[in-house]
């Protein structure tokens, strides 16, 4: 339960940790778009080098990022298989009975795998260096233009903040109930289908009960502290742009521009 790397904040002190969440989110969006520009492997190579440098600059270990990619391994595997069977263009490079592999299939797969890896690296860089609460503040600020369209941006941000706030609590709770039921002889790994269903029920029912209870208590506690839905609110923590933020946004957009340039050069 405690080994979830994807989306986990790592409390360190680095250049990236100190950045404004807004600039990090904007830079991430630019980089994600850049990843989808068909700039060829040279482009991806350049981006990989830059991103690895960034990961190191954020004082994160490469092994941490690699661990975050683990859940994607199965997906990459299936993509490879499907691509091999579906894409039949380019040069034939291998034949084994009815199975034929063309080089376009491998190229396409490599593209997707590299893109996924770069995307995970980028998003991990954001989530590992930004406190969940700062992230929601950033999202809220970036959504402000939507307020003109009557989108309840503050409520959305509050919902995200609360959800993020309760993830560790719920993981802890699930862990505890899991252990409590294991102590009562529940085997969560082995057993027949019927036993498995009863095992899962013994976890889910108490989780639901406590979630509703927590939600109820939280609503009371918020009201007791004067929270009114839709009321105008001021903020304790003010986000501030520093020189680093401008550098990061400009750098990200330069990368995006560079990738587009590479793609155009390649295309013509």
């Amino acid at each position: 339960m405690k080994n979830i790397t994807l989306g986990q904040y790592i409390p360190l002190d680095s250049f990236f940790h100190r950045l404004d969440p807004r600039s990090k989110i904007c830079a991430m969006l630019a980089i994600l778009i850049a990843i989808f520009v068909p700039a060829g492997f040279i482009g991806y190579g350049i981006m990989a080098v830059i991103l690895v440098r960034c990961v190191l600059l954020a004082k994160l270990q490469i092994s941490f990022v690699v661990k975050a990619m683990k859940p994607m391994v199965m997906m990459m595997f299936f993509l490879t298989i499907i691509n091999i069977f579906v894409i039949k263009t380019g040069n034939l490079i291998y034949t084994l009975g009815p199975i034929t592999i063309y080089d376009d299939a491998l190229k396409q797969t490599a593209y997707i795998v590299v893109r996924l890896a770069l995307m995970i690296m980028t998003t991990t860089l954001l989530t590992a260096t930004t406190k969940p609460m700062d992230m929601t503040l950033g999202i809220e600020d970036l959504l402000i233009p939507l307020e003109k369209l009557k989108v309840p941006t503050h409520d959305i941000a509050m919902m995200i903040a609360l959800a993020l706030r309760f993830i560790p609590t719920l993981i802890e709770e699930a862990d505890r109930i899991l252990k409590a039921q294991a102590s009562r002889g529940v085997d969560f790994e082995n057993g027949s289908l019927k036993e498995k269903i009863s095992a899962i029920l013994s976890l889910i029912v108490p989780m639901f009960v406590s979630c509703f209870q927590r939600a109820d208590d939280l609503a009371d506690a918020m009201e007791a502290r004067g929270y009114v839905v839709g009321a105008k609110r001021v903020r304790y923590k003010q986000l501030k742009f520093g020189w680093g933020d401008y550098v990061v946004i400009i750098a990200a957009n330069l990368i995006l521009a560079g990738m587009i340039y590479l793609a155009i050069v390649k295309g013509s």
Partner: protein, 284 residues
């Protein structure tokens, strides 16, 4: 066949920035048939320690022996189910683990997981529920309809119904009213004395330690600080002050008497014998 910890280390999330050593080089042997209190400040490793007793956590170094089960670091432990049958662990706020539609069914859940037939499980469950003081008329209620204290009793009945040889309780009285807590402790004493079940209690309540327990284990920052019987433990007043342990009222009273020149024997630990000891001294 006691409970033995030999050079046990335990580390949470080893090899990550969150790595945290919760137990350090624990050497501990607990006698069977006794009621032992495990005390220490929050975060001192009490809960981590007791979770080793039924293999919910496996040591990262050293060896744990419980009854005839041996759990060695780095080795796969295969008798998980047998061990968990023998060691009943009641978690903090155990009331959150109830999930069946009726109280009786929930108590049957444990024994049936260990292969007891439904008819036998119901019989055992009824007896366990009566032992913990849940009246017959509540057996068919939903656990959600009951009060917090009653729910916790049901959860404890659920563990007792497994007929463990060792009962481990993690802060069983936390959040209960004083009377509820007292009767809960009475219940554990009854279980210990009548059925000969070894009882381990993690607690912050020194009055309970004094009144109900035989031995004390003190933890601090993941290390075993002291293991002794309660008489010796409560004799050492300076130590308790230094370790920030709030002594029970009767021990504080004895200390005040001593400061004012009236020393009472160390085995006088309850109010009746203290009163007669003081009276005897006054007559002299």
């Amino acid at each position: 066949m006691p409970i033995r910890f030999e050079k046990v280390d335990f580390e949470y999330s080893p090899g990550t920035p969150f790595a945290f050593k919760a137990l350090k080089n624990i050497d501990l042997e607990l006698a069977m048939g006794k009621m032992t209190a495990i005390i220490g400040a929050t975060g001192s490793g009490k809960t981590t320690l007791v979770q080793h007793l039924n293999a919910l956590l496996l040591p990262t170094a050293g060896k744990v022996t419980v009854l005839d089960h041996e759990i060695k670091a780095g080795q796969k432990f295969t008798q998980v189910k047998e061990l968990r049958h023998n060691v009943g662990l009641v978690f903090q706020f155990a009331e959150y683990q109830l999930f069946e539609e009726t109280v009786l069914k929930d108590v049957c859940f444990g024994p049936m997981n260990f292969g007891v037939s439904e008819a036998d499980a119901i019989e055992i469950a009824r007896r366990s529920l009566l032992t913990v003081g849940i009246p017959e008329k509540s057996f068919e209620k939903s656990p959600l309809e009951m009060s917090g204290g009653q729910k916790r009793r049901v959860a404890i009945a659920g563990i007792l119904a497994m007929k463990p040889k060792i009962l481990v309780l993690d802060e069983p009285t936390a959040g209960l009213d004083p009377q509820g807590a007292e009767s809960m402790m009475e219940l554990f004493r009854k279980v210990n004395k009548n059925s000969g079940i070894t009882v381990l209690i993690v607690t912050h309540n020194m009055e309970h330690v004094l009144q109900y327990c035989d031995d004390v284990v003190v933890m601090e920052k993941g290390e075993l600080l002291m293991q002794t019987d309660i008489e010796t433990f409560f004799e050492n007043y300076e130590y308790m002050e230094k370790a920030n342990i709030n002594p029970p009222a009767i021990i504080r009273f004895k200390e005040l008497l001593k400061k004012n020149g009236l020393e009472i024997a160390s085995d006088v630990l309850d109010i009746d014998s203290l009163a007669s000891a003081v009276a005897r001294r006054c007559k002299k």
